[in-house]
């Protein structure tokens, strides 16, 4: 065997293994399935991480043709640098989620055997289809994997299918996934048109599509992948489906599956399509930033912990897609080295998001498991009952809020650098408006911090809001390991940015022909210098060391001056007010209130405010997504109107149907003869 083929072989082995275990698990008793499926998922993920890293460093484009599939259309598989990166992402972030899931699903395994083995089956199929999407090298297997990814995750989302709301959320998800899939099908169909090839990506790469046709393909890809990524206005399924799923599945969907949309976009826009137009990039930057702002505003006013995190995923996908847009913009203008910087930042953010959002969804899962409560208004004070979960979640929120020295900061810093240190673009209006993009990013980052303080402060800090904390237990050991893995990922990705960015060199080299890693590492592995040291540099280790050194210096000096370290416990001071109750703390609604007030125009708000004379005052406020009213409801009404119209044709009488057939035949004949006369 040729050694350079090996990474792809490993991936194939993992796919086969997962498929076998998935089918096997259907026949096993629940306890055995639990101890087989999740360790298998973990082992597979470890292998994938290794194979992906190997593929990134080895830089060998392994291809493989499997003689299965339709006759004359074998499956093409290929593992290049881009695929290797996403295989690494799936493996590395997956490790923590599977470890956690192993512990998390033990109650389900004990309670409901059939439901549990179904979950095991779809869990592995879901993982395998995500990997298959990444290594697919023809449109056929890509669509098959893409669809099985959507279907298996639909079944995972509807694990608790007895609940009506969850069935509805699942249906919405399925609907959106299929709208996206249709767009993708058309997209690949357009690419195939005129080539006469075998739908393989290799044949797409060889054709040059220009003008309107290329733009049509771009728009279809944006629609198809945007529906998966939650791009405005196709985000509606995301805040419904993610909370409905069991928490490890939410973590998988948010951390890993959304990244498949990014993968698909990069594959189509930079690899398969050889042309680009400037307006594509502009459109994606604008849409991405709008999505980010929209997502973070809605995240800040949620009271359901998982919905809050889901909206924050919308925000992060918006940032990621704006990064893709920025890359496209620079690529279109021929500034490949800055495009490489933007692409590296985007990929970095995708990796970071997989870790911190996975971590937070898992943390939310532990909260949910321990308290059976998703409503923040009833949580509080959990840091005392679940110190492990609270500690790991703290890492997660600091990363998500984009604070140094954690990982979220590095990628946002790199993206801002791409916005700021851009070269002169040929269009003066773009030169002027790009800094506004940086302004929106800054606003989004600050609002994300707001949403995260709300999330953590209300759920983990303060006093319990009517819940008995003595009955709440911390996460079990396996869950702790899973959380710990994700938190360690957040910290390491934040502290060693140069090492991480070097991984992306092979990807940017493959797609844009330029690398960032070498310039980024010019001052050594401790200093991240994306362009040049005098333009911008960042060193998280020195930053952390500096803060710690300052604290240490102060403690040593104070101790030497004889400052004692005594403390005692007492009742809280609270301006001397003794009748303090937990209900006087800010509720989730209260904490989000300023955002509601300032950005009222963005929200669909319904409020019931009690009158001063009310004996039993009751305050209620509900935030709804205005896009439902503006987009989805009219669309739905249109479809209903249309189908009612078509329904009129259905008379139920055979003579009418015969008349229709006859008329169709006549029209077709007329068309054919018309064509023949020409």
């Amino acid at each position: 065997m040729i050694p350079s083929l090996l990474p792809l072989d490993v991936v194939l082995l993992v796919l086969l293994g997962w498929g076998t275990v998935a089918i096997l698990s259907l026949a096993l008793p629940a306890r055995l399935a639990l101890t087989l499926v999740f360790p298998a998922a973990m082992a597979g993920s470890a292998l994938l991480t290794g194979a992906g890293l190997w593929g990134l460093y080895g830089d060998a484009h392994a291809t493989l043709i499997l003689p299965i599939g339709l006759p004359g259309m074998p499956f093409h598989l290929r593992m290049d640098a881009l695929a290797s990166f996403f295989v690494t992402l799936l493996g590395a972030a997956g490790m923590g989620i599977h470890t956690y899931a192993w512990g998390y699903f033990r109650t389900l395994a004990a309670e409901d055997r059939d439901g549990f083995v179904r979950l095991c089956f779809f869990y592995l199929i879901f993982l395998a289809s995500m990997v298959a999407v990444v290594v697919a090298d023809d449109a056929y297997i890509f669509m098959v994997s893409w669809e099985s990814m959507a279907l298996s995750s639909y079944f995972l989302v509807t694990t608790d299918h007895e609940i009506v709301a969850i069935r509805r959320a699942g249906f919405l998800y399925l609907l959106m996934a299929h709208l996206g899939a249709i767009a993708l099908l058309l997209c690949f169909g357009l690419m195939q048109q005129g080539v006469g090839g075998d739908y393989s990506f290799a044949s797409f790469r060889q054709t040059r599509l220009e003008g309107i046709k290329a733009s049509e393909i771009f728009l279809l890809a944006l629609l198809g992948f945007g529906a998966k990524a939650g791009l405005l206005p196709l985000h509606a399924w995301l805040p419904e489906a993610h909370p409905a799923a069991p928490s490890p599945v939410s973590a998988l969907m948010s951390g890993l599956m959304l990244k498949m949309a990014l993968y698909g976009m990069l594959r189509v826009l930079f690899d398969l399509l050889s042309t680009t137009a400037l307006w594509w990039g502009v459109m994606m930057v604008v849409l991405g930033l709008m999505t980010a702002l929209f997502g973070v505003l809605f995240a800040a006013v949620q009271y359901d912990i998982k919905r809050l995190l889901a909206y924050s995923s919308v925000e992060n996908m918006g940032l990621i897609l704006s990064g893709v847009g920025l890359t496209l913009l620079f690529h279109g203008a021929g500034k490949e080295s800055v495009a490489a910087l933007a692409l590296a930042a985007t990929l970095y953010h995708a990796l970071n998001h997989a870790f911190f959002k996975g971590l937070l969804f898992l943390g939310a899962g532990s909260v949910l498991h321990a308290t059976t409560e998703r409503n923040m208004a009833k949580l509080g004070g959990l840091i005392r009952a679940m110190p492990w979960v609270a500690g790991f979640s703290l890492v997660g929120i600091l990363s998500l809020a984009g604070l140094p020295p954690f990982n979220g900061f590095v990628s946002e810093w790199l993206l801002l650098q791409a916005y700021l240190l851009r070269p002169e673009l040929p269009q003066p209006y773009l030169n002027m408006t790009l800094p506004l993009g940086a302004a929106v990013m800054a606003l989004v980052g600050a609002l994300a911090a707001y949403a995260m303080v709300k999330f953590y402060g209300i759920v983990f800090l303060g006093q319990a809001r009517g819940m008995d904390l003595t009955e709440v237990h911390d996460a079990a050991p396996k869950e702790r390991w899973g959380l710990g893995w994700m938190a360690a990922g957040c910290i390491l990705l934040g502290l060693f940015p140069v090492t991480v960015i070097r991984l992306m060199d092979a990807v940017t080299q493959g797609l844009l022909g330029k690398t960032v890693g070498h310039t980024a590492a010019q001052n050594g592995w401790m200093w991240l210098t994306p362009v040049a040291p005098e333009r911008a540099s960042y060193s998280p280790l020195i930053l952390l060391g500096g803060v710690l050194a300052m604290i240490l210096l102060m403690v040593v000096v104070l101790r030497s001056w004889g400052v004692h370290g005594r403390s005692r416990r007492s009742a809280p001071w609270d301006c001397g007010y003794p009748w303090q109750t937990p209900r006087m703390q800010d509720s989730a609604d209260g904490f989000g209130q300023p955002i509601k007030q300032i950005f009222e125009a963005f929200f669909g708000l319904t409020r019931e405010i009690p009158s001063p004379q009310d004996a039993h005052p009751h305050y209620h406020s509900e935030v709804t997504d205005p896009l439902w009213k503006w987009c989805y409801v009219p669309l739905n009404q249109g479809v209903e109107w249309l189908s009612r119209g078509i329904g009129r044709l259905q008379q139920g009488r055979i003579s009418t149907y015969l008349l229709f057939s006859f008329a169709t035949l006549l029209i077709l004949l007329a068309l054919v003869s018309g064509g023949a006369m020409k």
């Binding site: 810093w413 506004l436 302004a439 911090a449 953590y456 005594r566 416990r569 006087m584 800010d586 300023p594």
Partner: protein, 315 residues
């Protein structure tokens, strides 16, 4: 050269750590004079700090480790920030670790920790203060970033050393973009340091306090650290303002002969800035809380305007 640059860094670190309470005292003293009071003298913040350091810490029953760690995190972040801002000399060796964006990040880290600690005990005032602080900051932080972006665009760098070096050598031209961002920066400075139009550091009036509401539960050495960090933050902001908008008289690190002159220039600038700040605070009244978003939105718009002007006029 490297060693002497490091020595400069060390000198500046010690200088800001020791000077921060003095600057706070000077502002308070000026304000007392303007209000026809005698004031407690410029050394009062030191006396307060010493008193607090030797007092016992009283923790609420439910205070978690996060609550106890926060004063240290806050102090570490602010001390590092104040150390890295070029005040007397440009081209500090450690300044490369933290550029302007990372600087905003460190300030945000400190703020998030403080807001979380305020919510930790679960008092009504704590969460109220945390919410208000986050409200002010989510508008102030982007404005501050935009101010920095304007300076970064002027000097084609986000590194503070390069920015200040470029701005020092630009001569006495009035850049319209810098004028706009200067006003925006001043507004951010007032808001982020809890000064008068946004917050009042002197009162514990329940309905209006922001910063004080967050630190109500802190006592003893914890409170001392927070107060000290607050002084460091004010000094860092004023130093940043001076470095961006009045960088004249600075020396390059390693140049020992120019140090006394630069030091003198810096202290003079601080005296003027402190007096100006006190005057500004005396002349204006505290705003209603719901005016604050408008105030901060104004700062954000000015900062955005500044960067647009920079690209429009190229200046």
């Amino acid at each position: 050269m490297k060693a002497s640059a490091l020595a400069f860094q060390l000198v500046q670190s010690l200088l800001v750590l020791l000077l921060a309470p003095l600057f706070l005292g000077w502002v308070d003293q000026c304000r007392a004079w303007l209000q026809n009071r005698r004031g407690a003298g410029v050394w009062q913040p030191y006396r307060t700090l010493v008193k607090l350091f030797y007092k016992e810490v009283v923790l609420a029953h439910d205070a978690s480790p996060l609550f106890r760690v926060t004063p240290y995190v806050l102090f570490g972040c602010m001390a590092l920030t104040a150390t890295l801002v070029p005040m007397v000399a440009t081209d500090l060796p450690l300044a490369g670790a933290v550029d302007v964006i990372a600087l905003v990040g460190i300030l945000a880290l400190a703020r998030v920790f403080l807001a979380l600690a305020a919510m930790d005990v679960g008092t009504a005032f704590g969460s109220l203060g945390a919410r208000r602080e986050m409200l002010v900051s989510f508008l102030a932080e982007p404005a501050l970033l935009m101010v920095f972006f304007t300076a970064a665009s002027l000097s084609a760098s986000t590194s503070l050393s390069t920015i200040v070096t470029v701005l020092t050598h630009r001569g006495f031209f009035l850049y319209p973009s810098l004028a706009f961002s200067g006003v925006a920066f001043l507004m951010v400075l007032l808001a982020e340091n809890g000064r008068i139009p946004v917050d009042n550091p002197e009162t514990h009036l329940e309905l209006t306090m922001i910063h004080e509401a967050m630190i109500l539960e802190y006592t003893g050495r914890h409170l001392a650290l927070i107060e000290w960090a607050q002084g460091l933050k004010l000094l860092a902001y004023v130093g940043l303002g001076l470095a961006l908008f009045f960088p004249f008289g600075m020396t390059e690190s390693g140049d020992w002969w120019a140090l006394p002159g630069a030091l003198l220039a810096f202290i003079l600038k601080l005296i003027f800035m402190g007096a100006g700040l006190a005057l500004l605070e005396t002349l204006s009244a505290k705003q209603r809380l719901f005016r604050v978003p408008e105030f901060m939105g104004g700062a954000f718009l000015l900062a955005v305007l500044a960067i647009l002007i920079h690209y429009l006029l190229g200046a």
